[in-house]
Symmetry: C2
Subunit: 416 residues, 2 copies
Amino acid sequence: MTGNPEINGERLLERLDRFAEIGATAGGGVNRQALTELDRKARLLLAELAEARGFGVFQDPAANLFIRRRGKDEKAPPLLIGSHLDSQPSGGRFDGALGTLSAFEVLESLEDAGVETQRPVEVVAWTNEEGCRFAPGCMGSSAFSAGEIPLAWSDMAATDGARFGDELKATIASLPQAAMRDLGFPAYAYLELHIEQGPSLEKEDIPIGIVTGIQGTRWLEVTVSGQTAHAGTTALNYRRDPLRAMIATLNGLYASIMPQDERARFTVGRIAVEPGAINAIPQTALCTIDIRHPDSSEIERLSAAVEQVFSDRAGAERCQVALRQTFDMPPANFPQKVLEVLGRAAVKGGLATTRMLSGAFHDALFVNRVAPAAMIFVPCRDGLSHNEAEYTAPRHVVSGARMLLLSTIEILETEV
Amino acid sequence: MTGNPEINGERLLERLDRFAEIGATAGGGVNRQALTELDRKARLLLAELAEARGFGVFQDPAANLFIRRRGKDEKAPPLLIGSHLDSQPSGGRFDGALGTLSAFEVLESLEDAGVETQRPVEVVAWTNEEGCRFAPGCMGSSAFSAGEIPLAWSDMAATDGARFGDELKATIASLPQAAMRDLGFPAYAYLELHIEQGPSLEKEDIPIGIVTGIQGTRWLEVTVSGQTAHAGTTALNYRRDPLRAMIATLNGLYASIMPQDERARFTVGRIAVEPGAINAIPQTALCTIDIRHPDSSEIERLSAAVEQVFSDRAGAERCQVALRQTFDMPPANFPQKVLEVLGRAAVKGGLATTRMLSGAFHDALFVNRVAPAAMIFVPCRDGLSHNEAEYTAPRHVVSGARMLLLSTIEILETEV
């Protein structure tokens, strides 16, 4: 590789500010939800910046946006680097935008240095990663990896009432300069830079996380049913209290799962009680459970254990249990070869790193199914994300982009 | 006392059926909420039945309805017997109506037998015992015992939007034949027959409960605050999970309070979690606690213990606790002399009885503050109440009414 590309930190930070204006909220964050006018505005801005540098602009039927810098071998599967541009309703300015704009900065740095690459390198902005306006999340990357858009998505209504099929069509139509390409194509590899959305890097004061994989996730919904009765008149032996059973069960699970395994995550996010009157012994108690682990056999074991203890405890209280799985995402492990590429890149760049798991979903989870992938994390203040106060310091932004550039160069020179 | 009064079981059962038609629900229950048209209809029917027997019909400014059978000494404070006529929205046909119509049957039995009593005997139907349409409950009896209607009630809006002051006025105006009397007056004593609303009498197969008092009740609302964070990314040592803290605390309280004291009641009726998303560690968790005990010092001790363990446990999870008392009703103990009257009446009637506490509030709780009072319970199937399937068998209805009659006679012949 000729040339000595370097990240232009100022340019990147200015780009972040510029995109943060699109959907800026009073609280200092961003509300730029998928497939809205604002999402289209951001896509347009990126396309214009691309055209100004002579990069190719493409989109696919899922409105994924691709910015292509040519390689010597135009037939070679491209290296993809990127993230997403859509945000949460009360989102921050870094979640997704950091990775996408850093990737674009990588392209510009290569261009500035006159670097010729064998392969093409493409920036990708995946459609609807957040999944808040239309569920589920990671729509663009999952459609890309599956090679198709599920039929069921078309008629789906947004939280604001709009129809997915119409919004998708309008979004594609809003960027006529983006040539249409097939949904799904061979890619050499995929690298994504993202804020950690957790507190570890900040607390350990390490600028770069090399993400080894994404935890598997399983969501359960548990309903325990007993018998409602009067809180005052009903003695203990006459009670069939589903909430009592549920609380005893959850207490045991809280006390065992995470304390015994630092890689496990067990969270109860919601409890609903019926009838929900202060003076009524509950009739039913419902809770949601979020289980995560990088090891799929552990997810199976934990789910089975949860089901067993609920069953035992409910039985002891003469209650019934109904348990259903509402979501299941197997773990994704990024290929060793790619992790080694990142490791070498960090050494070359003098960047301190730590290996870590991602607890959150990312587009990389899906792209990893069809191309070798990995992620790079940077610290975010207090681990805060999905929050207008989300913040990553400029030095961490620049380190992250440097790491992405170095990793891009390293992975183009390796066989992965 | 001359004459040999006897309950006319058929007449009473027919009356119960007749009143059950006023607000009858498809499920076989009654929706005859306080101060509605249906409540007025029931009052009117009772007034007409009274007039047909030559009894006096009175009401007070709280719309409490009184049916008076004269005594030899018209100046003597009357014996009051009765209950309420209003129901829950999905209520049963016995809750309140049993006591009120049995009391009216007692008057009619005395009249049929030509019994002359020294004192007047009055049937009372207290306004808004249920407290569902307008809160709180026991409005009529609490206003009677306080001698005044709280100013704040007037502008209170019902669950259906109606204004209390307007509905009260309309209810009073709907029965012009009921002469107005002062709110609160000296009463000799008060006896109330009611369904148990619990399962004990049925399970122990005893037809009559002599109620020694009403448990004290204290309601608490506890909010534990922590910090919301991502369920996937946040390791245990970074969590400040208020729900975890709450569940650990409640589990300990469930396991200790009621198992250690069969007179105590501890119930969690409601839990609410924010943000309440399956993949978010909670920010806040709120629960309601209903504590009951016949001993007021125990209520104090239990409340203090609840506050203490919540504080300790929340602190251990690095969360905050806010606890507030939303309701406090001290225990009521019915006077020994009245309990002895009931005991003698049962012996005379050949009725098996057991002494018991009431876990639910009743008008007798308030009347007991101004006149010696007591309650008589009869079994209800499965202990079910506040439910359209509420049911008391005819033989228990009749035993209850007999017990009320015998107790009426006994208390008139005693000095209490």
